[in-house]
């Protein structure tokens, strides 16, 4: 267990024009590709399995195991799809990575596609981030020109086509099966499972869908070995990862550290909560993960540690809120997001988020009683685990966890006849030293 930063993915972000092939190659970029092409694909899958790499998109499913599910006797083509539809509120790790070092991802894609014997790979990027799309497109072009992509890559006999696909801006398309529908040109809505994508995914063919950070981690594992990767992190959550600190924190940004670091350590590195204020609540991995409070400052930020604390590691998007923030207001804003982004396919999420927003809006104005809190919790109970996909589940997390930790604050709204907070004080442009 280490408490220092371990820049691997972000190691070259400060290099001159780090997004260019030249810059990336100067730092040893694409060496791992050459190593990988000299290996058997199956050996690469074993290497990633041995490393203990788990999916960085939120669920933490072991990456190597996912690759192993691809039925190699299936006559259909196999596909690798990179989920770069980063849309979770608070989450901002993949986009900086692709901005600063798109070649890390491209190299990871080539190695991963080779491992699962795919000859076609896609990077599905959310459409709003045009600057990122352009960087990726340029990087892919450079990789083609350098012979890293295309036919017979470096004489290995292996062919790979890589397509950067821009989504149309829907949160649901980060859900992997909705992403596949969108990629196929349909409306993005989650698919019925089974069949699982590993068996019948893109164009009903075996498909691996991985998060950007997962795939970008692969070259470093090939370069340095599984045991190197496993030397970082905790027993079941191995390796380094990007923690994204945002909100009421002195130096927000990406902090690449071993899994298992604590928020207290990260806040120390980030200069602490903004001056003159104290931590009130925070999300461990975006708004879909139940909020935590100051009492959880020493929870190890790995899959098991955060799970034991009643939340989820998620995307490691640490949104930090100080005591000026009205939790009801914050939760309402998040819930409005889920209402806006619900795809509409299933009843609990579609109608439930519509109702939750109206109820919360009423409560924020102080027009409610404690009975409404019970109704609100029961609404969440009827959505969590009842909706078609995890979007509905995520929508309930901020509500149930905020009532768990801050019931009094909800009640204060009723007693006050409205929000007792000054919303201006929680803004980052509020005068320093302002207090609630």
């Amino acid at each position: 267990m280490t408490d220092t930063l371990t820049p691997v993915l972000s190691d070259n972000w400060d290099a001159e024009r780090s997004w260019t092939l030249d810059s990336y190659a100067d730092g040893g970029g694409y060496d791992a590709l050459k190593t990988a092409l000299g290996m058997e694909p199956g050996a690469l899958i074993d290497l990633v399995k041995d490393s203990g790499l788990r999916g960085r998109g939120g669920a933490g499913f072991p990456t190597g195991m996912k690759w192993g599910f691809i039925p190699q006797d299936n006559p259909n083509p196999k596909y690798l799809v990179v989920n770069a539809d980063e849309s979770e509120p608070g989450t901002c790790k993949d986009i900086p990575l692709m901005m600063a070092s798109p070649h890390t991802l491209v190299e990871g894609v080539i190695i991963s596609a080779y491992a699962i014997r795919a000859n076609h790979a896609f990077i599905y990027v959310r459409g709003e981030v045009l600057h990122v799309i352009r960087r990726l497109q340029r990087a892919v072009q450079e990789a083609y020109l350098a012979g890293h992509l295309g036919k017979d890559i470096h004489g290995s006999g292996y062919d790979l086509e890589l397509v950067v696909h821009a989504g149309a801006g829907a949160y649901i398309c980060g859900e992997e099966t909705a992403l596949l529908d969108s990629l196929e040109g349909r409306r993005g809505q989650p698919r019925l499972r089974p069949p699982f994508p590993a068996v019948a995914g893109l164009y009903a063919s075996p498909t691996v869908i991985n998060n950007v950070e997962s795939i970008a981690s692969v070259p470093s594992i090939v370069r340095n070995g599984a045991s190197w990767f496993g030397s970082m992190g905790t027993e079941k959550s191995k390796g380094m990862t990007l923690y994204s600190l945002s909100g009421h924190v002195t130096r927000p940004g990406q902090y690449e550290a071993p899994l298992g670091i604590t928020l207290r350590q990260l806040l120390d590195l980030a200069g602490g909560v903004r001056e003159g204020h104290e931590l009130k609540f925070w999300t461990p991995g975006g708004s879909s993960t139940p909020i935590l409070t100051a009492e959880h400052l020493d929870v190890p930020l790995d899959y098991e540690g955060v799970g034991a604390a009643g939340s989820m590691l998620g995307t490691k998007a640490l949104q930090v809120f100080d005591e000026t923030t009205c939790v009801v207001r914050a939760v309402l804003r998040w819930t409005e997001f889920y209402k806006h982004e619900s795809c509409g396919k299933c009843t609990p999420c579609r109608e439930g988020t519509w109702w939750l927003v109206q109820t919360l809006a009423r409560l924020e104005k102080g027009q409610g009683t404690e009975a409404d809190l019970e109704t609100l919790l029961d609404q969440c109970d009827n959505i969590l685990g009842r909706s078609f996909c995890a979007l509905g589940d995520g929508a309930t997390s901020p509500i149930t966890s905020s009532i768990q930790y801050f019931r009094d604050e909800y009640v204060a709204h009723f007693e006050h006849g409205g929000c007792p907070f000054d919303p201006a004080k929680s803004t980052l442009f509020a005068p320093a030293g302002a207090h609630a």
């Binding site: 829907a170 649901i172 409306r187 019925l192 799970g307 209402k339 806006h340 982004e341 619900s342 795809c343 509409g344 396919k345 299933c346 009843t347 609990p348 579609r350 109608e351 439930g352 988020t353 519509w354 109702w355 109206q358 109820t359 009423r362 109704t375 029961d378 609404q379 109970d381 009827n382 959505i383 969590l384 685990g385 009842r386 909706s387 078609f388 589940d393």
Partner: protein, 816 residues
């Protein structure tokens, strides 16, 4: 709802899985969904998106149940979800498996609460307009809200609203705020009808059914979406706000618009049909009917409906109302005086009525001059029907189409001419059936069946059929079926070639006529050379067989066919005509048919509504419409589809009762006066096991036509009737008619270029008898062929061009 998967066959034990539902052990076939396994033990799990004939989607989440699966130790382990919580599963997407333990709302408080939660969510945005909603009283949402919902809502906020309603077609209306977004309608349109012109758009609670504005929701099957809508979101312009379901009497019946015999449910009130729905019959139409079968019933109560018998006044020469006894007497005396009499009927008779005409002609009029074919026909066809169709009973069935590898269509456009057959073919095609069509172009229907076109100009079908025997691509064998449309009667050699092809390849053959009464008429002997049950007129044993039941002798000379009767009437060889439901414009030569009616000295017309025939007739006898009588339609399969009288208060007389009245006055009683008695006599008569007529062997004549599809400067005419067209049986429902496809003349791109006009511009098509102007379009026709709908947008090809399929016409750009 029906389960068609196993067709009632016994399932081997190895193909069963045993699970426990609410403590009751039940064995179901592998692959059965939990929601249907529960039905087996009488447990109804509430549902909206689930439909047994649509692919599972799991969208509404109403059918959540608690499920446990056996672990490695065999002990059931409950399926869990987000940390530490039981995760109820959607029973409409979950397949039953061995050892599964399911607890529904009956035995699981968790499942019950989950269902109530979903129901509450469905209702928050659902308007409380049940008192004015068409679905009120028969609404799955209303019913299941009562059975599986909370008594009181906790929603006190604002409901989502939309402007209401919007037209998604001329007939189908959408109230978006009532919609629960189960996607049954969109899935039906995509999966069953193949007309995906409606789709879900927008997202979240603003998701809604939308249309593609450039392509109207033009589907022959759109009414099914209304019927399967589990709420009142989809309504028909025809029925909206017309009735409350609990005020209606529902009677099962059989559709009268085509030869498919679809099961329908007729809802009526105070002697008036208010609407029709699809019945459920897995063997025939499953749960779907065409829009024609659904909405086409107002023809029976148009202003021109005949209500009283009429006779021509001797002094004024005008038709005047008469009593039934007077009309019978006048008819009988007139026919006696007229001498030789021919009988022409259309193809819309029930089997019993057809039998009455058949017997009336032979017994009361003493003639074999009887024919039901009010369309192009031939002696070859008669031989084909006698040899291959008449009295053969149930042959190829709807279900057979799903079991074979190849179906060849010839002279048949199922989407237009037999809609239920089209749906079954499409269903089979989605599972791998190869459909091959001998037709002039790739119709929309053929494309939806993913079919293969054997491009054939009209007249060349016989050669195309002959060539199929050696076609390695189609490779027709005993695992194939030939579906032959009635239109091939107009092509010399085609029916002979079809019979020969079936013989050489072993493929099974079925004749698919257009009208509901056609097959029954063949079975009842409404042909000049054929007696009931497929008995040949010129077979002494057959005549004796019949004479035993009829107690009389039957003429041994085959009579005249319809064209022969018309010609004989014009020539004065026949004085009397008995005409039952024939529209002269349907016949191959409308002018000749009119002339024959004018020339005949005495015409008796049995009709529903005033027509050209009734105006010229000497005695007009009003008869009962389908809903006003009992009867039997025989489907193209040969399946008897008996139905009872729907409008029991109606006093309208079926044709057979009217014929019996005339026969009595002629002194030659028919021996029955009711449908039941006619049915009993038919049954007593039984089938014919004697010799049959040999199949026709007319040569194709392809040598003469093969030379070129362009006959001189003209184009060869291809034509058939579209499903929703100017047919008189669609009169009265303008919304339905508005959903029909517009009349467009189709030509090849090459031919269009020669015309010097753009697609969409008007062209004038001229035949021997006149011309018609309509827009032109492009299809993959052979050069030198033009296709016209036979009776759409006021253009009747027979009447206006004086031409039938295969004739040579000319086409010019611009209006005439």
């Amino acid at each position: 709802m029906t389960v068609t998967s196993k067709e009632g066959q016994e399932v081997a034990k190895a193909d069963l899985v045993t699970l426990t539902i609410d403590g009751v052990e039940v064995s179901v076939p592998k692959g059965t969904l939990v929601i249907r396994a529960a039905e087996q033990i009488g447990v109804q799990i509430p549902r909206f998106c689930d439909h047994p004939l649509l692919a599972p989607v799991g969208a509404c989440r109403q059918c959540l149940v608690e499920v446990a699966l056996p672990g490695p130790d065999g002990e059931p382990r409950t399926m869990m979800g987000p940390p530490g919580r039981v995760k109820p599963q959607a029973s409409c997407t979950l397949t039953a498996s061995e050892g599964m333990v399911v607890n529904t709302q009956i035995s699981s408080p968790i499942a019950d609460k989950a269902q109530q939660g979903v129901m509450e969510a469905l209702l928050i945005n659902h308007p409380l307009d049940c008192p004015v909603c068409d679905k009120g009283g028969e609404c799955p949402l209303q019913n299941q809200a009562m059975s599986n919902g909370r008594g009181e809502t906790r929603f006190v906020e604002t409901k989502r609203t939309f402007p209401k309603p919007i037209n998604i077609s001329a007939q189908v209306l959408l109230d978006r705020e009532r919609c629960v977004l189960c996607a049954r309608c969109t899935r039906f349109s995509e999966q069953i009808a193949g007309d995906p012109f409606i789709a879900l758009i927008e997202r979240g609670a603003l998701q809604q059914v939308g249309i593609y504005e450039k392509e109207p929701f033009e589907s022959y099957f759109s009414g099914n979406t209304i019927q399967i809508c589990p709420v009142g979101a989809l309504t028909s312009a025809a029925y909206r706000f017309r009735a409350r379901p609990f005020d209606l009497v529902s009677t099962p019946s059989v559709a009268e618009h085509d030869a498919c015999g679809s099961a329908i449910r007729v809802d009526h009130r105070r002697g008036k049909v208010v609407r029709r729905l699809s019945g459920e019959d897995p063997a025939v139409n499953e749960e779907w009917i065409t829009d024609k079968d659904r909405f086409g019933f107002t023809y029976a109560r148009q202003d021109d409906r005949l209500t009283h018998p009429m006779v021509r006044d001797e002094e004024t020469g005008e038709l005047r109302t008469a009593s039934w006894p007077e009309a019978f007497v006048v008819a009988a005396r007139g026919l006696q005086a007229a001498g030789a009499t021919g009988v022409l009927t259309g193809g819309r008779l029930t089997l019993e009525d057809a039998y009455a005409y058949s017997k009336f002609a032979r017994v009361a009029l003493g003639t074999n001059d009887v024919d039901f074919r009010a369309r192009a026909h031939s002696a070859e066809e008669e031989a084909f029907l006698a040899s291959t169709v008449a009295g053969t009973g149930l042959g190829v069935t709807f279900e057979d189409l799903e079991k074979v590898g190849t179906v060849v269509l010839a002279g048949l456009e199922p989407e237009d001419e037999a809609g239920t057959l089209f749906l079954r073919l499409r269903k089979a095609a989605r599972k791998g059936l190869k459909v091959v069509s001998i037709a002039p172009f790739t119709s929309r229907g053929l494309a939806k069946m993913h079919g293969t076109l054997i491009r054939t100009a009209p007249g060349d079908e016989a050669a195309a059929l002959e060539a199929l025997a050696h076609d390695g691509e189609v490779a027709l064998d005993a695992g194939g079926i030939l579906l032959i449309g009635e239109r091939l009667a107009a092509v010399p050699g085609a029916l002979s070639a079809a019979a020969a092809l079936a013989g050489t390849t072993g493929a099974r053959l079925a004749w698919v006529p257009r009208r509901a009464g056609d097959r029954g008429a063949v079975d009842a002997g409404l042909l000049p050379s054929l007696l009931p049950g497929g008995r040949p007129v010129d077979d002494a044993a057959a005549r004796v067989d019949l004479g035993t039941v009829w107690g009389t002798t039957v003429g041994h000379e085959p009579g005249r066919d319809a064209a022969g009767i018309v010609a004989a009437a014009i020539a004065g060889e026949i004085g009397g005509l008995v005409v039952g439901g024939v529209d002269p414009d349907d016949t191959a030569d409308p002018a000749a048919t009119r002339a024959a009616i004018g020339a005949a000295s005495f015409v008796v017309s049995l009709e529903l509504r005033a027509t050209d025939v009734t105006q010229a007739a000497d005695v007009v006898l009003p008869v009962a419409a389908a809903a006003e009588k009992a009867g039997t339609f025989v489907t193209w399969e040969g399946r008897q589809r008996p139905f009872g009288k729907v409008l029991v208060e109606s006093h309208a007389l079926p044709d057979l009762r009217v014929l019996a009245g005339i026969a009595d006055e002629l002194g030659t009683p028919l021996g029955f006066k009711t449908v039941e008695a006619a049915r009993a006599e038919l049954s007593e008569l039984g089938g014919w096991d004697g010799d049959r007529v040999a199949a026709p062997t007319v040569s194709t004549g392809s040598t003469t036509r093969e030379s070129s599809t362009t006959d001189g400067d003209g184009l060869r005419l291809a034509t058939w009737k579209q499903m929703i067209d100017d047919a008189s049986m669609l009169d009265g429902d303008d919304y339905l008619r508005a959903t029909g496809r517009a009349a467009v003349a189709l030509v090849s791109a090459g031919t269009l270029a020669g015309l010097g006009v753009e697609a969409g511009a008007n062209v004038t098509v001229t035949g021997p008898g006149g011309s018609a102007t309509l827009p032109v379009g492009v299809a993959d026709l052979a050069d030198g062929v033009v296709w016209l709908p036979a009776g759409s947008d006021g253009i009747n090809v027979n009447r206006d061009l004086g031409a039938t399929a295969g004739a040579t016409v000319s086409v010019e750009g611009g209006a005439a």
